[in-house]
Subunit: 354 residues, 2 copies
């Protein structure tokens, strides 16, 4: 009997979701078992198929069940057959909001051997951690429509920023920055235009920063940040930003760090009042689904973030190390592997770690 | 006497603004005079210095004077000594909003010979036109703060999107797409999250699109767009997007097309009810100001957009051609030139055009 059992909810979702999640669980199990931890997994069928069949995105009863789990691994949700926004708002964002995933953690790290669209890649230079706020901002869903379908129609979309919500994520970001060698924190916002929200973010960073004298604080407008991501990525260490800006810059971050196939994320409730959720940044990619062509690496790296969150730091490092080795080997031997083969190879490398 | 005189307001502004604007006017005059057009320029001192001296950003009387001009050339405004947002909202955005610059036109084009941070640059592949909405969205300045400086503080920031405002810019974008060989229009938004605004934008694009059967219409989430800008820029021909998304992706566009030193823009009121305003995308760069180190090319290219807008299409093409030649020469002979030398060289190339 394992010393500890982790109750893990698995939401394979749509498209390539089920394929990549299988490999994620494979590697997770291997890494956990080496530390005498067993996984007690429960699968939840949520996503496009369920919505088509029942009209449900996330029944309350399922949300309640999920609440009693320790962590959630999610593949991807979404399908062209479902109108835009239904699954995003009804499932993905509902989970992030209900479970208070106020930290959306997205490392942007270029592993040795990985190809990037940037010229002269200096692999040591892309290693940042984006701390994206996950429970408010323009994602709050506030706003509405007036005089729909008339020439006088108005649609509003409101960004909500609270002291409470901004402070907790900023504090988390300072903690992360404080623990890193460079100890640099950059606030990304657009405070010269979004003056109400921007002033709050700036003030909170200033105030919380007093408690972290070792951390140097920088500010960058979101527009300039996209420029620096491609021209001077070494400017960034830890980045803290709002929900929408974080969404945008982390896709760009994924692109410069080798593509969306490698980008991992954790939707984290640091207090563990609710289960945190780990998912690749990529979508369901229905065009390649079912052919074993998807790269499960982003999901595997997301499980490493899960292990870290569960207090299994060594296991997390072992998974990351196995992925790094796999990516390096891939750079030398370019032969095609299936989704399952990549998962097998990474799991084997985990098993072989010293 | 010239056949036509154009009343041109010049706002040099702060930092490198005055230096680059001098070169912009130099090239403009050269190009205009070859078509028997004279410039009647009036300089307006607006920006950080005036704000420090008088507390004014844009006095009503100056706004009235500007209203009677045919076009405005702006260098750059902003200085670290002025709190963020004052000059942006009080001068730049005020002009865009007062003068109904609902089209913020930003070409993203990689000229032959120009270095880009992207690997394997294929210069023919980056040639898009971003049509950014300029008078609403999150830039409307709506929102506010409740319970300031208490733990219960809330700051909101509201994006306002009207049928009127969206339709006019979408129509402009379709016109532009229709006139280009590829005739492709991509709406960039985030309609799966910003569902109220996103649905309006989508619906308007669909409806207006019926009038432009030759134009193929595509949609891309803003996060994915940043990814494609660096990995597959050839996906884009004309892009239409809201004020904030447009701000973000055009800085990224500038970066991939050789840097902010080359990125031009026009704040356009297509009906000519008000003077349109042309400005480089870059800021005032106070760190290099006064040393003749700034590259005036973005300002010169912005004046080409002005010439186009004034109906001087041949003159516009001649300026663009001169810039292309200058950039190409620069790629071969890397010797340093001052701001004025670059302006002289481009003006000379304009004069030499057949
Ligand atoms: C699918 C979508 C709602 C989501 C987001 O915008 O957060 C995705 O883009 C992401 O980054 O996880
Ligand atoms: C200075 C700022 C207000 C402006 C904007 O956000 O529009 C600038 O970034 C731009 O793109 O012209």
């Amino acid at each position: 009997m394992a010393a500890r059992t982790v109750k893990l909810a698995v939401i394979p979702g749509d498209g390539i979701g089920p394929e990549v999640v299988t490999e994620g669980v494979k590697v997770l199990s291997e890494a956990a078992s080496r530390h005498d931890v067993a996984l007690d997994t429960t699968e939840y069928e949520l996503g496009a198929k369920r919505w088509h069949a029942t009209g449900e995105t996330l029944p309350d009863s399922v949300e309640d069940e999920l609440r009693s789990q320790e962590a959630i691994l999610l593949g991807a949700v979404g399908d062209p057959s479902v109108p835009s926004g239904i699954l995003e708002r009804g499932l993905l964002l509902r989970l992030r909001f209900s479970f208070s995933h106020y930290v959306n953690l997205r490392p942007v790290r270029l592993y040795p051997g990985v190809t990037t669209p940037l010229a002269e890649p200096e692999t040591d230079d892309i290693d940042m951690l984006v701390v994206r706020e996950g429970t408010e901002g323009p994602y709050a869903g506030m706003g509405g429509v007036l005089r729909k379908d008339t020439p006088g129609e108005i649609a509003t979309q409101d960004s909500v920023n609270t002291r409470f919500g901004v402070e907790r994520v900023v504090r988390y970001a300072f903690e992360k920055a404080n623990a890193r060698p460079r100890a640099k924190l950059t606030l990304v916002h657009k405070d010269n235009v979004l003056t109400y929200a921007g002033e709050l973010w700036q003030r909170v960073v200033r105030e919380v920063g007093v408690e972290y004298p070792r951390v140097s604080v920088d500010y960058c407008h979101v527009d300039a940040a996209t420029m620096f991501f491609v021209s001077q990525p070494e400017r960034f260490d830890v980045v803290v930003t709002d929900n929408l800006f974080g969404d945008i810059i982390t896709d760009l971050g994924a692109a410069i760090a080798g593509g969306i196939g490698l980008a991992a994320s954790g939707n984290i409730n640091p207090e563990n009042d609710f289960p945190s959720m780990f998912e690749p940044v990529h979508g369901s990619a229905p065009d390649i689904a079912g052919h074993g062509k998807a790269d499960p690496t982003a999901t595997v790296l997301s499980s490493a973030i899960m292990l870290q969150h569960l207090g299994l730091a060594t296991a997390a490092r072992q998974v990351e190390q196995a992925v790094a080795e796999d990516l390096n080997a891939r750079a030398k031997d370019g032969s095609e592997r299936s989704t399952a083969q990549i998962g097998d190879d990474i799991a084997r490398r985990v098993a072989e770690q010293g």
